[in-house]
Symmetry: D2
């Protein structure tokens, strides 16, 4: 593992806003450091589901993109890194009208396999709304930064 980030917060945001594709515009990288990354899902009515709460798929997307970017921040621009599994628990009802924040942690960063997790919070509230465990496959021919 490198001791400095391979991609900065600004570089990750540029990737989200450009090559990442149609989902990228919903997210802001609030923080990217060696010990973790914070990704923000901007509040929008399009993420609501019956009950005026944020949908499971929107929270899954937040957790997935957050850990994916955390991996890229460590190894460099390997966009073909793909999610291989996720286990997510929805622990509390998320309130509509607030952004959602994902705080990530990388637990393993192997040559072709990365494992991380994310804890999700409503912006301004203390109790986590969800937690997610994610695993990713890194292309074997990727040359790390």
């Amino acid at each position: 593992m490198t001791q400095t980030l391979a991609l900065t917060r600004a570089q990750l945001q540029t990737f989200l806003d450009g090559d990442f594709g149609p989902l990228g515009g919903d997210f802001t990288v609030d923080r990217a450091e060696m010990d973790g990354l914070t990704l923000r899902l901007k509040s929008s009515d399009k993420f609501l589901r019956p009950g005026n709460t944020i949908s499971g798929p929107a929270m899954f997307a937040l957790a997935d993109v957050a850990v994916y970017l955390a991996i890229l921040s460590r190894i460099g621009m390997a966009p073909l890194t793909v999610t291989t599994s996720c286990s997510i628990d929805f622990m509390r009802k998320p309130e509509a009208g607030r952004d959602v924040l994902a705080h990530t942690r990388i637990l393993k960063l192997g040559r072709t396999l990365a494992i991380g997790d994310a804890l999700l919070f409503m912006d301004g509230l203390d109790a986590p709304v969800a937690r997610a465990n994610m695993t990713y496959s890194i292309p074997p021919d990727f040359k790390r930064a």
Copy 2:
């Protein structure tokens, strides 16, 4: 458990197209029977991620909505049923340009807890691209059909 469906395929589709909210228009209920439901995610560029493949969040959404509808088909219109957990494995790369189908199975249908799973296929192909295990919480005050 009732021996006939509480909601028909057509009633589920009407719910998707109306009260379900902004995500509903992406899905078609192909089949709804006592032994399971098939939900279709209509192919669209908006579901793509880097690598020209279907994004994890889009597949999560398909699995989640499919099992949710399968539960409603059995107990009646309880839209406030919420996902409490999901574990999903992405097993093969989904090809862009095809619809994705989720075939569901209900394994437990308790008073306030339902458990089901979904196997996801690209339309026309045999090998599953993902499997998902889902659990849901049914509102305790819901009166079943």
Copy 3:
């Protein structure tokens, strides 16, 4: 994938009773076919936990060994195949005094990765007590049968 089993039911049982190690004696391979394997955990007081019910670890062990053997039945004697993840839901309270049966399904059998699941039943009862999704890593230098 081969179209016949690489290891028969009897060969798997011999492995369990010998090289598998101290856990092997608790299990019987009831069935091993191309479409799945059934493994039996023999009822014993040593698997009980408070509440006079079968412990979670005992059920995990049953699911894990069942899918592991199902993989070996397909690829041959690769004992260093290791579990990389498991997601298990305990759906109903298992009654003490009955054997537990795991019925497996293999969903992906790649060169170095295998994915399967197991549905667990108390012997003689219809409703599943648990379901488990398992992934395994196959040694890359293993030569298949």
Copy 4:
């Protein structure tokens, strides 16, 4: 949530050594505090599997018992609290001949539902060997300390 533990480290150890049942003797409670609990699985040949490594079921048992005890340390002696789900990733090969330690975290402590996780380490080594997410059902009629 109480601000002091309902059960001390010594009380939890007494429970493990007595009423918990046959699995209890394999574990030592190293630490029990409001912010988490550390449980030790004592090294033994009986936990080995092919490859001279610690079996998945042994690590599952450690994670499961650790989070269970962490919940009891907070709410009091509710032994009929049962595991409802677990998702575990085995991240590195555990070396035989060392104890395994589980460090727990409680993420939700509701009236009838508790959610926690555990990170597992070989004693003396820095990189985690496994992580586990666990959910539990607390008997609804249990009166908390």
